[in-house]
């Protein structure tokens, strides 16, 4: 395997990791505030669809992007209503949201475009086109560094860079601002937040909305950046993998980057090689494709270091017994 191939694989790793990264950070904000969200998958799907659909109709990827974010935030608020206001079961709520999305997207897509639940493929301004970083072309021939720069870093769509920026940004918000402190506190011990005179409900809604925005970006990238249009069920479990990455990352932004890159790499390899040959034995493509899910289980089983989730995760805050 020559350097070029490796670069190509890493290049596609970055592309494929981006939606996972957005979703993972989304889950991070939500779970840090004590709201478990297995509805990431559904929100991503809804955002992917609406962004693609609106982009296709208006011809502007930007309008599409905002539509996608809107869709995901709307679902987030449903989740908030169920799990914060009505103290319902957060898992069931997430499951419901996943189905709602997978049903509605196809329903509306079919109704709008009659293409078997697909949107027309996006062209021109209707999708995010690659951005060539300055001097990418010039440096292309400089060995290693030049190639790294021009092949790996350069030539991705805007959202990839946004995602990368979101990592330090999330870290800063969570660990360097008042909001972050309170957000983390409400996920650990809401009573402490309450008795210090801060509204638990407001904080949790804020977290849920942030989660919605980030998931929206994930979905929008999937449909308008990574590919050019929406295909039914195109999230293909990425929402759940993002959750696993979140656990793997122990609910920390920077680790989230590495975790999602790992999953991205697995997918990139599975995409490139039908079946992988490792010293004689052939790994069938199906195993390659299942690898992310298997890895997820291994992570959840705590075989790669036990991760302590936010203590108040998954429970509604009830003051009086």
């Amino acid at each position: 395997m020559d350097l070029g191939t490796i670069l190509q694989i890493l290049d596609s790793t970055i592309r494929l990791a981006t939606p996972l990264l957005f979703a993972c950070l989304a889950g991070l904000f939500s779970e840090r505030a004590g709201i478990v969200d297995i509805g990431l998958e559904g929100k991503m799907l809804a955002a992917a669809f609406l962004s693609a659909a609106v982009a296709a109709l208006t011809g502007s990827v930007w309008i599409g992007l905002f539509a996608g974010i809107g869709a995901s935030v709307a679902l987030s608020l449903v989740h908030g209503l169920a799990s914060i206001t009505f103290r319902g079961n957060q898992l069931i709520s997430g499951v419901a949201i996943n189905f709602l999305a997978s049903g509605l997207t196809v329903l509306i897509a079919q109704n709008l475009f009659q293409q078997g639940g697909r949107t027309p493929s996006l062209t021109g301004d209707a999708r995010f086109s690659p951005i060539r970083l300055p001097f990418a072309a010039e440096l292309r021939d400089v060995p290693v560094i030049g190639q790294l720069y021009s092949v790996l870093l350069s030539g991705h769509s805007l959202l990839v860079y946004v995602a990368l920026i979101c990592v330090p940004l999330s870290w800063w918000v969570l660990f360097r601002t008042r909001f972050g402190l309170r957000l983390r506190a409400v996920g650990e011990n809401p009573a402490a937040v309450d008795t210090s005179g801060v509204s638990v409900v407001a904080l949790r809604y804020a977290a849920v909305v942030i989660c919605g925005v980030l998931t929206g970006l994930a979905g929008a990238y999937l449909a308008t950046g990574l590919s050019a249009g929406f295909v039914k069920e195109m999230t293909a479990g990425r929402g759940f993998i993002a959750l696993a990455a979140l656990i793997f990352a122990k609910w920390r932004p920077v680790q989230a980057l590495w975790a999602t890159l790992l999953f991205g790499l697995l997918e990139a390899i599975a995409n490139r090689y039908q079946s992988l040959e490792l010293g004689g034995l052939v790994i069938p493509v199906q195993l390659m494709q299942a690898l992310p899910y298997i890895l997820t289980v291994i992570i959840l089983a705590g075989f790669v270091g036990k991760a302590i989730p936010p203590r108040a995760g998954g429970q509604a805050y009830v003051k009086e017994r």
């Binding site: 008042r178 005179g197 801060v198």
Partner: protein, 524 residues
């Protein structure tokens, strides 16, 4: 003699400088009247003690003052001015700080982070942290409140965690500080340190409300003391004019101890023998520090003591729920305390019955019907099986109906869900189940907590009847009169150890009260 609130003496003719005045506070939790028409005045710059049995309503009252709960009725005056305390924010603004019975700290945050939480300077943390760090060092100097600002809460001892709570309050410029059973979780040394801190605070003119069960503490540092019983404020007086005896009386109540008519015990052979029993909880704290005791057939051993001194652990390890070290022999054969080959089922098989302290959490399944709760734990009993496969629910229901009859459980409806019975009747369901399993040893905790007098008497008779049937009974209760009236022998527990033993006839409340408060009281 009865002692009535004597406000006349408190109200200085000069200036009625009341930091806090509560008028007619009422609070009910569902059917539970936690506070009934409570009025109290707290003088500025004093330490005001509040004592009362478990469940008397102390925490509820203070939670209302701090805006954590909303009162159903009544008004609150701060420095003479009527103040609406809708939420904790309002309380903080009014200069009230509270240290809860169960700390409200974020375990994996540092001390600094916990202190600034909710009281940050601006959108960014850095300045707030810097400021907090400075004022923390000041406070530490001023009040001997030294804690490492960068330590994580979970790494701190309980005593230090408590200081963080106090610091939190002071950092928010609290003028009035409420401490709910602060020493319940402290070692004597830590407690002494706490009192030094409190005195310093008082010297700085702060007002302090101190909730406790422990007479020694009241006598030691309070200026005034109020006594609560069953949700009501029964008396307020100057500590100087009170004695441990009078307070113990007020706390336990003047009502005649309902002496259950019981013949003297005819103790038989020893049924339970415990030696050097130790229990360490998951936090690594030693809850039982070497217990030795033995109970004979036809004898009731009463364990007196303030809640949280290891009684619960004692019951649970004997019942096979918790694990411990040491030896415990039942009728001569050793019980497995490690939990490896033992659990609730094996204990029941070896004829140990257990009435747990918390009926809501352990003793009952509130959503189950009465008959299911009667079968609960005994679901494997042969009598309840129709055949190898199926349970005989009808038999169970019939049996339940009979038990309800015998225990006068109302309403006598086996199919009613447990949660719809009143506390007293819920408790009777548990008792019916455990007592009628005809055990050799009955472990029974707080048999009459949250139960009305009528039911109390009945329950007591049942326990004595079981004793007279030649069974051994280990009774744990925070209600002194209950211990006094039921036990054949009394052991007092404090801080995971048995302070001493005595016989009810030659024990008096005062002496017991002192031992419960950790004073190596009179002989055993």
């Amino acid at each position: 003699m009865t002692i009535t609130p004597d406000t006349g003496r408190q109200a200085q003719p000069a200036a009625p400088a009341f930091a806090i005045e509560l008028r007619g506070i009422c609070k009910a939790f569902g059917p539970v009247q936690a506070n009934k028409d409570i009025s109290i005045q707290v003088e500025k710059g004093t330490i005001h003690g509040i004592i009362g049995e478990n469940g008397a309503g102390k925490s509820t009252l203070m939670s209302i003052l701090y805006g954590f709960y909303r009162a159903d009725q009544g008004e609150i005056l701060i420095d003479g001015a009527p103040t609406q305390i809708a939420d904790s924010q309002a309380a903080i603004r009014a200069g009230i700080g509270m240290v809860f019975q169960h700390f409200k700290l974020v375990e994996n945050f540092t001390v600094l982070e916990n202190v600034i939480l909710g009281a940050e300077e601006g959108a960014l943390l850095r300045p707030s942290l810097a400021k907090a760090r400075r004022s923390l060092t000041d406070l530490a100097r001023e009040y001997e409140l030294n804690v490492d600002p960068d330590a994580r809460i979970e790494d701190l001892s309980v005593g230090h965690q408590q200081r963080v709570e106090i610091l939190k309050a002071l950092y928010r410029q609290a003028e009035i500080l409420i401490l709910d059973e602060p020493t319940g979780v402290l070692t004597p040394a830590e407690a002494d340190h706490l009192f030094r801190i409190l005195r310093n605070l008082k010297r700085e003119g702060k007002t302090i409300i101190l909730i406790t069960h422990k007479l020694r503490e009241i006598m030691e540092i309070t200026d005034n003391v109020s006594v609560m019983r069953r949700g009501e404020m029964t008396a307020t007086l100057r500590t100087a004019e009170a004695t441990p005896e009078t307070l113990a009386e007020l706390m336990v109540g003047r009502k005649v101890l309902l002496r259950v008519q019981k013949t003297p015990a005819q103790p038989g052979k020893p049924v339970l023998e415990v030696e050097n029993l130790k229990v360490v909880d998951d936090k690594g704290v030693e809850r039982l520090r070497g217990i030795d005791l033995s109970i004979r057939a036809g004898e009731i051993l009463g364990i007196a003591g303030v809640a949280g001194n290891g009684q619960s652990e004692l019951l649970e390890v004997l019942a096979g729920i918790a694990t411990g070290t040491g030896t415990a022999r039942l009728n001569g054969t050793a019980l497995d305390l490690t939990g490896r080959t033992s659990d609730g089922q094996t204990r029941r098989a070896s004829r140990v019955a257990h009435v747990p302290e918390d009926r809501h959490r352990r003793g009952l399944i509130l959503d189950f019907a009465a008959w299911e709760n009667v079968g609960f734990g005994y679901h494997n009993a042969v009598a309840y099986q129709k055949n190898a496969l199926l349970m005989d629910n009808d038999a169970l229901v019939r049996d339940t109906a009979a038990k309800m009859e015998r225990f006068d459980i109302r309403p006598p409806n086996p199919r009613l869900a447990a949660k719809n019975f009143s506390g007293g009747n819920q408790q009777k369901i548990v008792l019916a189940r455990e007592i009628e399993s005809a055990p050799d040893l009955l472990l029974i905790g707080q048999p009459t907590r949250g139960v009305d007098i009528g039911a109390i008497e009945f329950i007591h008779q049942r326990i004595v009847a079981l004793r007279d049937a030649g069974k051994a009974i280990l009774l744990v209760s925070v209600e002194l009169d209950e211990i006094m009236s039921l036990s054949d022998r009394i052991a007092v527990m404090f801080d995971g150890q048995i302070m001493g033993e005595c016989l009810p006839q030659d024990a008096d409340e005062r002496q017991l009260g002192l031992m419960m408060a950790g004073m190596k009281g009179g002989s055993a």
